[in-house]
């Protein structure tokens, strides 16, 4: 359920962040996708997809390569124009109130492509400024950089960072402002084990603070541990959605079946 804005600050981040949102009715999901359809010219990439993610919920977006996961994430954050359908972010329609809706999200891409000619700290400043979260950005940036072992690199140009460090920077950018909806595209790939653990903690903290989180991943054990619900896509359509228990039922497999077993069964059926 969605919490009051002042409670939506991740507890690990002590510096208060400005909140551009007014409270929503408790029952309103923070991320609501209705009949999302996306064509690339004549190729149907996503077909009539509907789902929602509530406050304090983590949903795993799974699917084979080319299933349309990245298209879904890019459509939700306004990079791609929907062929039809509606996306609502924290009560704001992406189609009608694009700027206000975008103010509520953070998107961490799969391949980190940060601005290489900024320093690490400048990059975080830039993202915070763009989201209107300038107050207290220094303290938040330092805290995030400490957590992700990037503090020593704070004044280095991004082009001097390794690939894993760039991925950590992209993650830090996702947490620098007061996002209510967090979208992650394969966030753990390329990050060292310590960083992976820290990132999982940060995601769980954000969930506990009432954020809605959608994670696209191929790491099924991580999805199993982290997510409240799983959504499986195949060829742009929803194959299955539900909690682990519901997926067990849907896949007609025993309780000892792992998510990997169920995923393979369901996608093979397709």
């Amino acid at each position: 359920m969605y919490t009051e804005p002042d409670k939506a600050v991740p507890p690990s981040l002590e510096t208060p962040m400005p909140d551009p949102l007014s409270p929503l009715p408790d029952a309103t999901p923070l991320l609501d996708v209705k009949h999302l359809t996306k064509y690339y010219r004549r190729h149907l990439a996503v077909d009539d997809l509907s789902f929602s993610v509530g406050a304090g919920e983590i949903v795993g977006l799974l699917g084979p390569n080319g299933a349309g996961k990245t298209t879904v994430l890019r459509s939700i954050c306004g990079i791609l124009k929907l062929s039809s359908g509606q996306v609502t972010l924290a009560g704001r329609s992406l189609q009608e109130q694009e700027i206000e809706a975008k103010r509520t999200i953070a998107f961490v891409p799969e391949v980190p492509n940060p601005y290489e000619l900024l320093t690490v700290r400048e990059h975080l400043h830039f993202v915070a400024m763009a989201f209107g979260a300038r107050d207290g950005v220094d303290a938040r940036a330092d805290e995030l950089l400490n957590r992700l072992d990037l503090y020593e690199k704070r004044n280095d140009l991004v082009l001097t960072l390794s690939k894993g460090m760039k991925q950590k920077l992209a993650v830090a950018c996702g947490f620098i402002h007061d996002a209510k909806v967090l979208l992650f595209d394969e966030p753990l790939i390329g990050i060292d084990p310590k960083g992976q653990r820290e990132l999982r903690t940060m995601i769980e903290d954000a969930r506990d603070a009432g954020c809605a989180i959608l994670i696209s991943t191929h790491l099924l054990d991580t999805a199993e541990r982290l997510c409240n619900r799983i959504l499986i896509l195949s060829r742009g359509t929803k194959l299955a959605e539900g909690t682990m228990a519901e997926l067990h039922e849907r896949a007609k497999m025993g309780e000892d079946a792992t998510l990997e077993d169920m995923f393979l069964r369901l996608t093979e059926e397709e």
Partner: protein, 564 residues
């Protein structure tokens, strides 16, 4: 908007910091600035000298010819911008923009306005330099005050470039959403455009043939009402510059207003569109990224696979192979040959078309009365080809540097790597140039033969020198995304072209021409003189090669793949 300004200013600061990380790069950057500012002062001294010695006044160029020259000079960048824009390259944002900027709560129009403004500012820098260089001479030729010419040139060229940029963006967005989705409309636009271009060439050549002098023919073509209408903003810009003449009948203010109105209309055409501008730019960005990655991972054969994938979904590289030959640096030549064989056939087709197209077109069409003009144009096209080949080599070297870590670990001296990298493209361009020269020699024996033999010697040697200079700049400034790299490499190219391309050719022309006039040389004597002097120029270029290879190798030794 504040965030975007922050991003821009900090990126420039970062680019400067990155340049300062390398002593050599810093030194060359300072040299580039020194050369450019030296040339600026030189042009002002030239103006002062011309003004103070009225006897040395250059002969006034007739207005139609001057108009034609200005139209040609100003239309070239506008055309290049339009071409780039219609290929989606202007609207293609960087991967960082896609990942961060697109998902931010910023209006698309703001982001697009920033893009347009930034591109315009980049061109303004070159416009300002061009005006500073050219306006003293232009003012002298027009017998007009320097200030009057300079401000008109700056305002006119700035408006013209902004028009071209805005029109390119507007057309591409319209094309991406309205035309590309329809195959028949796409075919109509492509083939209809080609048919119209051929028809236009026919009309212009028929019209130009009524006068005798090649200069007048060119001027007549550029001043044709169809061309003036098609190039209306450029034409208005030229009118504006020419209105600086004291006796000019052209009105400054109405032309200024018309140009401003057209530019505003083009800018409005970009911003009234309600489409998602991120999507076509994302498609263009992704396509560029895929091609870049393909090149990075597997060179040109991977590019061919990518091309096949894009065209018909087939995922198969052509099965052509060249038997391996050589050891050491020769293997680099083998690799390049292998990849060239697997290159998209379209590239080979374009090369053959550019080499054989002009002579064949002229042979079959033979526009009556335009022989002199064609002779001039062929020389211009030849010079342009040399310049383009240098630019292509620079791109190739920068792409090779994406595999810099591999190249650096090769057990061979740096100069061998440079030679191995450059030999195949220079050889390929030489072959194409020879093909073109041979076609001219066969089809027009009476018109071109005296020049062909010397050009066949000078062309490749000059191309080698120019390519080596471009390779040197590419290794020194390898980062295509870095604005400081782009700026400095652009500025360093000018003195290089001046020293390697223009100065020797002009000197050669003046010396041979002067000699021929002074002794009233007969055609066979002139032919012999051209041949021997051409051989001398070729040998001169050949002697420059080791020096340029040494320079490029020295920079390559200092190059760190992490810089790219």
């Amino acid at each position: 908007m504040g965030a975007l300004l922050y991003l821009l200013t900090r990126q420039w600061k970062g680019a400067a910091l990155n340049m300062l990380r390398s002593g050599l790069r810093t030194l060359m950057g300072m040299f580039a600035f020194a050369v450019v500012f030296g040339q600026i002062f030189q042009s002002f001294y030239l103006f002062a000298a011309l003004q103070s010695h009225s006897a040395s006044r250059l002969p006034l160029i007739p207005e139609p010819i001057l108009r034609g020259i200005l139209l040609f000079i100003l239309a070239a960048p506008a055309y290049a911008i339009l071409l780039e824009g219609l290929q989606g390259n202007l609207i293609a944002f960087s991967p960082a923009d896609v990942d961060f900027l697109f998902a931010m709560p910023l209006s698309q129009k703001t982001v697009l306005a920033m893009r347009l403004g930034l591109q315009w500012l980049q061109y303004l820098w070159w416009i300002a330099l061009g005006v500073v260089w050219a306006s003293p001479l232009l003012a002298h030729a027009l017998a007009a005050p320097l200030g009057a010419v300079a401000w008109r040139a700056v305002v006119g060229a700035s408006a013209d470039i902004l028009f071209a940029l805005a029109a390119s963006h507007a057309l591409y967005i319209f094309y991406a959403y309205r035309v590309r989705s329809s195959e028949w409309l796409l075919a109509v636009v492509k083939w209809g455009g080609l048919a119209l271009a051929i028809l236009l060439l026919y009309i212009l050549s028929r019209d130009a043939a009524v006068v005798a002098s090649p200069w007048q023919q060119a001027a007549r073509m550029f001043n044709h009402p169809i061309i003036r209408t098609l190039l209306l903003p450029v034409s208005l810009c030229v009118d504006l510059i020419l209105s600086a003449q004291p006796q000019s009948v052209a009105m400054t203010v109405p032309r200024l207003l018309a140009l401003g109105g057209l530019t505003l209309a083009a800018v409005a055409a970009v911003f009234v569109q309600r489409e998602n501008v991120y999507e076509p730019s994302l498609a263009a960005s992704l396509r560029r990224a895929r091609w870049r990655n393909a090149l990075k991972s597997g060179g040109i054969s991977a590019l061919r696979t990518e091309r096949l994938r894009e065209r018909d979904g087939a995922n198969q590289a052509a099965g052509y192979a060249v038997a391996d030959f050589g050891v050491g640096w020769i293997t680099l030549v083998w690799k390049a040959t292998q990849l060239a064989v697997r290159a998209p056939w379209r590239n080979l087709g374009i090369g053959a078309f550019l080499s054989l197209g002009p002579p064949l077109f002229l042979y079959f069409y033979r526009p009556p009365g335009l022989e002199g003009l064609i002779a001039y144009l062929t020389s211009i096209i030849g010079g342009y080809g040399l310049w383009i080949s240098g630019v292509l080599v620079m791109g190739m070297v920068r792409n090779e540097l994406t595999q810099g870590a591999f190249l650096k670990q090769l057990p061979m001296p740096a100069w061998q790597i440079i030679v191995g990298l450059l030999l195949p493209p220079v050889a390929l361009f030489t072959l194409l140039a020879w093909l073109s020269l041979a076609a001219f020699a066969l089809l027009f024996p009476e018109m071109y033969q005296p020049l062909l033999a010397p050009l066949a010697v000078v062309g490749p040697t000059m191309m080698g020198a120019v390519s080596l200079y471009h390779a040197f700049i590419a290794i020194l400034f390898p980062r295509k995304k870095d604005p400081m790299n782009q700026l400095l490499s652009g500025m360093l190219l000018f003195p290089g072209w001046g020293l390697l391309l223009i100065a020797p050719m002009v000197t050669w022309g003046i010396l041979v021409g002067g000699w021929a006039r002074s002794v009233k040389a007969t055609p066979p004597e002139l032919s012999r003189m051209l041949w021997w002097s051409g051989l001398g120029v070729g040998v001169g270029y050949l002697l420059l090669w080791p020096l340029l290879v040494w320079l490029a190798a020295a920079v390559f030794r200092a190059y760190s793949p992490a810089d790219d």
